[in-house]
């Protein structure tokens, strides 16, 4: 009897301290690649918003639809500010090239 109780206690302790750190065997990372170009602001914005806002498939449909609409709106906002950042960075690059004595190259960058 005591031995049986002991076995049960050990089994309970084993259950209490078992934790799982495994990952699914199927692919879990998403790979995105481009050919002869970089990512567009829209493509990066989509990734950014996926990171910021996740909507579970099991969410109530009304809330899910609202959250997805919010995601789409956020994508446009993020893409807008990414374009602003790109434009601003081009201005910085333009001036750096011009100051370094490459006015033609600077102009090419400005016209991109």
């Amino acid at each position: 009897m005591a031995t049986e109780m002991g076995r049960r206690a050990i089994a309970l302790v084993k259950l209490m301290f078992k934790f799982n750190v495994d990952i699914p065997k199927d692919p879990i990372v998403n790979i995105q690649t481009t050919e002869n170009r970089g990512f567009t602001p829209d493509e990066v914005a989509e990734r950014c918003v996926e990171k910021l806002i996740s909507v579970s498939d099991t969410t109530h449909p009304a809330i899910r639809d609202q959250a997805q609409a919010f995601q789409k709106h956020m994508e446009k906002v993020v893409a807008f500010y990414m374009r602003e950042a790109i434009r601003s960075d081009r201005t910085t690059v333009y001036n750096a090239l011009k100051d370094a004595g490459h006015p033609k190259l600077a102009e090419l960058i400005r016209r991109l």
Binding site: F19, N20, V21, D22, I23, P24, K25, D26, P27, I28, V29, N30, I31, Q32, T33, T34, E35, N36, R37, G38, F39, R47, E50, K51, S54
Partner: protein
């Protein structure tokens, strides 16, 4: 020899219990991601980064790139951590999978202890473009590293 799925390395689980890995954003260890061709054969028994079958190409250097850590957090009864998406810029490479490994395990330096084997599912190619690894949503069900 080929990739056969994702694996959390068994050695990593042991090292977790030994307190050898620090995922904190500030002051944490340096984790890197190296990419491989489908000739590589990794599984849960993989313990160290190797240059064997590592991809080569423009915009990719042996050893891969360092990952940006995201502070560990909890969601319900699950603890999790994440990495920022990683991009190999202006790269011409084809990769089938990757290894995440710790180069400063236990406050050391130049270590090669593997954390996880990632299978991309198929060969992925970038040509004079960007090759981005997007990590899953950092929640209790999907985060790249979770303790449930």
């Amino acid at each position: 020899m080929a990739f056969s799925g994702n694996f959390m390395c068994t050695s990593f689980k042991q090292e977790l219990l030994e307190g050898a890995h620090n995922f904190k954003n500030s002051g944490g260890d340096t984790f890197k991601l190296a990419m491989y061709t489908n000739s590589a054969s990794f599984n849960a028994a993989t313990t160290a980064y190797t240059t064997s079958n590592e991809v080569t190409g423009t915009g990719y250097s042996a050893g891969g790139l360092a990952l940006t850590r995201v502070d560990p957090s909890t969601s319900g009864s699950t603890a999790l951590t994440d990495f920022a998406d990683l991009t190999f810029s202006t790269a011409t490479v084809t990769a089938r999978g990757a290894l995440i490994y710790n180069t400063t395990t236990g406050s050391g330096s130049g270590t090669t202890d593997t954390v996880v084997v990632l299978d991309f599912g198929s060969d992925k190619t970038s040509t004079a473009g960007d090759f981005t690894i997007q990590f899953p949503t950092a929640d209790a069900s999907n985060a790249i590293i979770r303790i449930a």
